[in-house]
Amino acid sequence: MGAGLIFSPRDFLSTPNPHRLRSKIAREDEHQLVAAAKSGDTAAFEELVSRYERKIFRLTMNITRNREDAEDAMQDAFLKSYSHLKTFQGDSRFYTWLVRIAANEALMRLRKRRPNQFSLDEPIEGDEDLMPRELQDWGPGPEQRFAQTEMREILSGVIEELAPDYRIVFVLRDIEELSTEETAASLGISIAAVKSRLLRARLKLREKLNRYFQQGRAN
């Protein structure tokens, strides 16, 4: 297990990355719910859980790719966030703080289940395979050629094909919208390693989606 993986929820506070997309899930009353939950209002905490449970389950599923582990990681993440709520200072969004706790829980389970297949400490690949080879026009709105459930299956399939250390960085940075610094701190790896893995993950996913989106092929 990487030395930097285990962290305290106190470590989660950081400045949001101004370049990231503005989240669609933040609501104005979040800080009120958090304040109420901090003062012991369990109904307020349950409202926060209801608000984010689907996204946290998506996150833990995306990392573990195992439903049992994803469920356990989600449950423990919510429990841990409640027990550490008093340490949450509100410098970052509650959801970002929660994502980092859930990612840590999911990573611990992934490492336990696949101790020999996954290590964020492994050196990253060389640069020789970075140049994209599959270059076909996707046409306008390629994703709209698929029904929502079909599209969901495609995305789930292509992300599962990614090596875990690429997948996790992509999930935290591009799906959960953590900053590079937050992702590096969550995973206990350097900013350079986050950037390198993110670039490779994005390029690999583009290439995998290309199989489905080549114009004229998918109807």
């Binding site: 369990t42 996204k55 389950f57 026009d137 670039l199 994005r202 390029l203 583009r206 989606l209």
Partner: protein, 79 residues
């Protein structure tokens, strides 16, 4: 800036983290190179598609177990 440089700077370009001079150089290359432009546009689209994707359904039995456990554990934790 050549095609290889563009690929190396791709993420920083998409995230708006390139300095002004490098961004300008990269944009000049994209105006001349349709292959790199395609890769940049498709990579942006890839991120957008994942970002906009709906979370998977939380199965009702998973949700029920979660809330039952939380209620029980929160009750135990609250004096």
């Amino acid at each position: 800036m050549n095609c290889e440089d563009v690929i190396h700077e791709l993420s920083d370009f998409i995230d708006g983290e390139l300095d002004a001079a490098s961004r300008q150089e990269l944009e000049s290359h994209l105006n001349e190179c349709s292959d790199c432009k395609l890769v940049v546009d498709q990579t942006k689209k890839t991120i957008e598609i994942f970002c906009d994707s709906e979370p998977i359904e939380l199965p009702s039995e998973v949700r029920n177990r979660l809330h039952e456990t939380l209620r029980r554990r929160l009750k135990e934790a609250t004096p």
